[in-house]
Amino acid sequence: MNPVNLLLVEDNPEDEMLALRALKKALPSTRIDVARDGQQALDYLFKTDAYAGRDGPELPAVVLLDISLPRLSGLEVLERLRADPRTACLPVVMLTSSDEPRDRARSYALGCNSFVQKPVEFVAHADTLARLGIYRLSINEPPSGCTPF
């Protein structure tokens, strides 16, 4: 079995800690990498700059992408991923603080696979992330026409 990993893009340290805790609990054998701004996420995914020689699979099984990020926003990252043939079909779940209709509309227009509001409740937060991770890693199949990497 190929090693599976997951990229979490999150700039808020508390959110990161809580998300990591929930994900590791739900997906103990999955490697979880973290990028802390939009540019870092792109560098990780395209193996550029600081990530030029990173190890691990070419692309993660899923990207959990916060919308409000320093440098490049989550929406800008999503736009660049969809514009590049290598990542055009990479599963991306947008994470957001508030379920703002315009963010949701923009995310889907840009081609995200899911749009999820970060719940305030810890239990709900853990559940949501865990379910997302499991869902993405086990059930979800790439859309037809896309070659899995």
Binding site: N12, E14, D15, M17, L18, R21, S68, S97, S98, E100, P101, K118, P119, V120, E121, F122, V123, H125, A126
Partner: protein
Amino acid sequence: MLGFDPQSFKLTLDSWLAQLHPEDRPRVARAFEDYVAGRSAEYRVEFRQRTSGGHWKWILSIGKIQAYDDNGRPLRMLGTHTDIDAIKAAQAALLELNATLESRVTARTAELTAANQELDSFVYAVSHDLRAPLRAMMGFSGVLAEDLGPTLPPEAKGHLHHIVQAGRKMSALVEGLLTLSRSARGPLQRHRVDVSALARARLAELAAADPARAVAVSVEDGLVFQGDGRLLASVVDNLIDNAWKYTGATDQASIRVEACEEPGYRGFSVTDNGAGFDMAHTTRLFKAFQRLHRQDEFPGIGIGLATVQRIVQRHRGHVRAQAEPGKGAAFSVFLPLSSAAEEVSEPS
């Protein structure tokens, strides 16, 4: 009228024309000549004429030929001059006002739009910025409870519980603020909204979430209106959630959703037989963050009815409340007939 001494005032056609405002003179001369030559049926013209004080005064001049010679040429003409200075001034003011009104409306609208956008981004920022620390507080309280729960003394567990409760309350407040602000902004869509279906769906959701409750519900068919679907759904949800909540301690609870009307309006009402309230407090009912019940009776943040009222007012309608403590409450939403009728007659 012009301030001249009637005794010494001598007037000929030429001296009169000389007293006219240069801009008006050709027009007056033409009107006079046209009439005298029979090219126009009447002589009636407005012009500015010099007063004895040297000012200009607006005059309405009307005249009629009284006698012709044997060849049909006019001999004598009689007429009146009327001082229309005040009328002219009023007209000019009105024109000026009309001209500026449009630009003032445009300017005010721009100001309002800017203010709305500012409020919009403020609320957006608040919702994001308040939620992040809240998630941390709630999240790490959860971590503590999960990791240390079994070993914590009961008192410490109680404290943890209070932190989580307060976090929930604040989360609900932020949510309410957002809902209220969203209900006030964005363009109002107009489509066919089936309130009967929305009400049934909400009641089914509540029943599913709370299977222990036995509530007799009845929803009238055909409650169809023209309006913003998302916003009217929020109105229905809020009213039904309230009815559900305030019948929580009622034996044989019942909730009815039915049609209502008054001249020029039709709408729907949500009636329950729950806790009700004293009509003396109606003025506070629709104010944000105002509540008529204690938290330990019926929890809430006091944003629902404020949202309902704001949405209904944006649809040019109004909300009426009727209640009695211990007997129940009825909230009626009235939407203007012009828009309500259009929708229903439209094939959909």
